[in-house]
């Protein structure tokens, strides 16, 4: 996760870089470290370093990681030629490297040559079955082709081995939600909450899924998770506030006539309604 100070630092550097204030390399390092996706910026400024032979050689061995970073960014921006050039340079420097092989496979993927890319990834996995990036690329490729069930298969296979990888769980959860497989999605979000109990995003998403599943028990659970989201965000999450209101009214409809315990919980609803009003005023 990116903390607020890190984000501020990135934005500050980005501003500085955009206005020609230097610090390009620091910016690129930070983006790389935080795994941000600012491909256009990386492409533009990374290339400016790579095209300047003096600046480039000043980097020393870091030069090659920059080539890799720029190559990936270029693929993301569909600048296939730039990516190709970068990969060619890397290939010359590291012949037979798996890491470069990965880039080549990604280039095939970026050009939309699915079956070639698939073959490349498979052969990479044969050499090293524990290459997490390749596993993930494969799932991503299936998703990009619109083959959602294959993506789910890949992700499940991957998670069977690397079951502590919460990014993969998150991806799987989002896929399940998009397919309206809410029970499976709920499981994934539970897994995410377990691995990072203080991230409000997961609480909120879990509450959404549970609310959608419906049923009295689920609605009550959903309400609790909306409440925890409110607590974790300090009441800033509009979605959670709405969620509380919706949950309460749904529960009220289901328990019409036998109202014993909703007296106390109604206060939460009125409070969130008030908070919403303040937000919209």
């Amino acid at each position: 996760m990116v903390t607020r100070t890190e984000e501020e630092e990135v934005n500050r550097l980005e501003n500085q870089v955009e206005n020609g204030g230097g610090g390009v390399w620091e910016y690129l390092c930070l983006v790389h470290k935080l795994k941000l996706r600012r491909s256009d910026m990386v492409l533009k400024h990374g290339l400016s370093i790579l095209n300047d032979s003096k600046k480039r050689s000043a980097l020393g061995p870091e030069e090659w990681t920059l080539y890799e970073q720029v190559a990936v960014a270029a693929m993301d921006c569909q600048s296939i030629d730039v990516a190709k050039d970068c990969i060619k340079v890397l290939q010359r420097k590291f012949p037979g490297s798996k890491r470069v092989g990965r880039l080549e496979a990604m280039l095939l993927e970026a050009r939309g040559l699915w079956s070639e890319a698939e073959n490349a990834y498979s052969s990479l996995l044969e050499e090293n079955p524990f290459d997490q990036v390749v596993h993930k690329r494969r799932a991503a490729m299936a998703k990009a082709q619109g083959n959602i069930s294959a993506a789910i298969d890949w992700l499940n296979k991957y998670l069977d081995l690397f079951m502590a990888d919460h990014e993969a769980w998150r991806e799987l959860a989002e896929i399940y939600v998009s397919l309206q497989m809410y029970k499976q999605a709920a499981f994934c979000y539970e897994e995410l909450i377990l691995s990072q109990p203080t991230v409000p995003l997961y609480h909120l998403a879990y509450a959404d899924v549970i609310y959608t599943l419906g049923g009295l028990e689920n609605l009550q659970t959903a309400k609790k998770y909306y409440a925890s989201t409110i607590d974790l965000t300090g009441g800033k999450s509009t979605r959670a506030l709405f969620g509380i209101c919706l949950c309460t009214s749904a529960i009220g409809q289901l328990t019409k006539g036998r109202s014993k315990e909703d007296k106390e919980s109604s206060e939460l609803q009125s409070l969130s309604a008030m908070a919403l009003e303040i937000d919209f005023n």
Partner: protein, 247 residues
């Protein structure tokens, strides 16, 4: 003793400096040899990778148990620790002890041997070489006095109690170099050089951790976790937050 021993400059030129240079060169050579021998990176066993991941996930479950509903927690607990095919359940008899594992996996023994060879052989050879050529030299003098206790450290190989302790024998100079050149190596060869003997010795003693034992421990830990859902408390906390906000 007031009278000083005067060391021949030839000793400096032919003992002290060659010894240091040779030690450095051997260290560099050993670094490259061990790099060469490491060569092909071995593929880790999928079972071990999976066990590591299971442990992380089970640990997460233990730590965050109170954040998921009771039903989900029970389902997960059963998944991890049931007696038939739970992820954390290690069938009896299948738990290998590390020794047996080492013998069953020749790669592992091979690795150990390579490591040991690259450490021990050069050391023995240089020690023998120093002993043969330079035994008995007083090679250097440190510029400050020391107590008798340092005699064993600095005058290894000279059995004279009358020599002042600040004189360093050649064999001791060898030892000082052996352990003292780490900083220099990390300067020449980069931070993570392979010549770090002290660290390697530590690794050796830590070798032989049994993964099935950690699995069992994790299972026991999971068994005693009392699930107490934390979410009902959050409703009150959310109310408090909102109350503050509305005001």
């Amino acid at each position: 003793m007031a009278e000083d021993l005067v060391l021949d400059t030839a000793i400096r030129d032919w003992v002290l400096i060659p010894l240091s240079v040779v030690m450095v060169l051997i260290g560099v050579l050993r670094y490259f040899v061990s790099k060469l021998m490491k060569g092909s990176s071995q593929v880790p066993d999928p079972k071990i990778v999976k066990e590591g991941q299971v442990i992380i996930r089970a640990r997460n479950l233990r730590a965050g148990a109170n954040y998921i509903p009771a039903k989900s927690f029970r389902a997960r607990k059963a998944y991890y620790s049931n007696e038939e095919n739970g992820l954390l359940h290690v069938p009896k008899g299948q738990a290998q002890n590390p020794q047996a594992q080492m013998f069953s996996d020749p790669n592992m023994a091979m690795d150990m041997m390579k490591k040991n060879l690259s450490m021990i052989i050069p050391q023995t050879l240089t020690f023998a070489w120093v002993n043969f050529f330079f035994s008995g030299f007083v090679a250097a003098k440190i510029p400050f006095p020391l107590t008798q206790r340092f005699r064993a450290m600095l005058q290894n190989g000279i059995d004279l109690s009358t020599v002042d302790v600040s004189y360093v024998s050649s064999r001791s100079w060898y030892f000082l170099n052996l352990f003292g050149l780490r900083g220099l190596f990390s300067l020449i060869l980069g931070e993570e050089n392979a010549t770090d003997d002290t660290q390697r010795m530590m690794q050796m003693s830590g070798f032989g951790m049994d993964p099935s034992k950690t699995l069992g421990a994790e299972k026991d830990g999971l068994d005693i976790v009392q699930h107490e859902w934390a979410l009902p408390k959050f409703e009150q906390r959310a109310e408090a937050v909102l109350r503050k906000l509305v005001k």
